[in-house]
């Protein structure tokens, strides 16, 4: 049910960004970019004392009139950002968390590929299939 999924590297450049209605791609890129500030804010707000219990799933980052943006950060500071259509209220918060977990698992599989250099753009068919399945649930 997502309309846009992005994987952002530690240095805040995109490793992978994919949106479903491809005509407004630039708008989604902009939304994801602005959400990075919110992600950084949430990470620093967690505080150093709570680093052990830090949750990877950041929850709703901010809602706009059409979309809601959700975030997830890994321990290696790789961020996953998901933009969801606001009209899709059927999704519960748990399923966002599980979708992010699936993304995280696929990401670790890619990292284990010996021919993948960390920091490269992600060009994996398995990852594409998994992201497609998440986005196609709308239909």
């Amino acid at each position: 049910m997502a309309v846009c999924i992005a994987v952002i590297a530690k240095e805040n450049y995109p490793l992978y960004i994919r949106s479903v209605p491809t005509e407004n791609e630039l708008k989604f890129h902009y939304t994801v970019h602005t959400s990075l500030d919110v992600v950084d804010e949430k990470i620093s707000a967690m505080g150093k004392a709570l680093v052990d219990q830090r949750e990877l799933y950041l929850g709703l980052l901010y809602p706009t009139e059409d979309y809601k943006v959700y975030g997830y950060v890994t321990n290696s500071k790789v961020k996953f950002v998901m933009v969801v259509d606001s009209s899709n209220t059927a999704l519960r918060d748990n399923s966002h968390s599980s979708m992010f977990r699936k993304l995280h698992n696929s990401y670790t599989d890619i990292m284990c590929n010996p021919f993948y250099n960390p920091g490269d753009r992600i060009q994996s068919r398995a990852f594409d299939t998994m992201v497609n399945s998440m986005m196609m649930q709308v239909c």
């Binding site: 284990c112 590929n113 010996p114 021919f115 068919r125 398995a126």
Partner: protein, 179 residues
């Protein structure tokens, strides 16, 4: 490292991921060092050969198998005992020549390529698991069986299964003179 049969065997287990990732890093580094795929393949084969000539003693000590009387017994031994012991998979064996000296091991699951989805575009003729060919060749040579081992089919290159072909070079009758 002598292993007497009476002593309880300690099978040291390591993490499978560590092994697969180490092998992957080895291949990736070789790809960075050599430009041509043939050089990488040859290097993997040489490494496998040096592993094989040492591994055979470990295998014979741990499995305590009897002497194989024919090439097909040898091929079965490699597939069912050796592969099972070291990689945890059992390929199926098929004899592909009338003379009885060409066999193929068909692997439907290859643990070494767990994380590799496909070969990079510029490395289309890389034999990712060529180390295995070298190991088999080295091990067979130490038991006085000359053989040529190569990959006939490779799943990473788009084939349906991974197939390793073993061709024994000397005729079975030649073995009698060693008595």
């Amino acid at each position: 490292m002598s292993r007497s049969p009476g002593r309880k065997q300690e099978n040291h287990k390591i993490s499978r991921e560590l092994f697969v990732l180490t092998y992957g890093a080895l291949v990736a580094q070789l790809c960075k060092d050599y430009e041509k795929d043939e050089d990488v393949n040859a290097c993997l084969d040489r490494m496998g050969y040096s592993i094989g000539i040492r591994l055979i003693d470990d295998f014979l000590a741990r499995s305590a198998v009897k002497k194989c009387r024919s090439y097909s017994e040898t091929a079965d031994m490699i597939a069912q005992v050796a592969f099972k012991m070291y990689l945890g998979v059992t390929p199926s064996v098929s004899c592909s020549s009338a003379a009885g000296n060409e066999f193929s091991l068909i692997l439907d699951k290859n643990p070494l390529v767990d994380f590799v989805e496909e070969l990079p575009v510029e490395r289309a003729s890389l034999c990712y698991c060529n180390l295995l060919c070298g190991v088999i060749r080295g091990a067979l040579e130490m038991v006085h069986l000359a053989a040529e081992v190569s990959f006939l089919q490779d799943r990473l290159k788009g084939d349906a299964v991974t197939e390793i072909g073993i061709t024994f070079l000397r005729k079975p009758e030649d073995r009698k003179h060693r008595r």
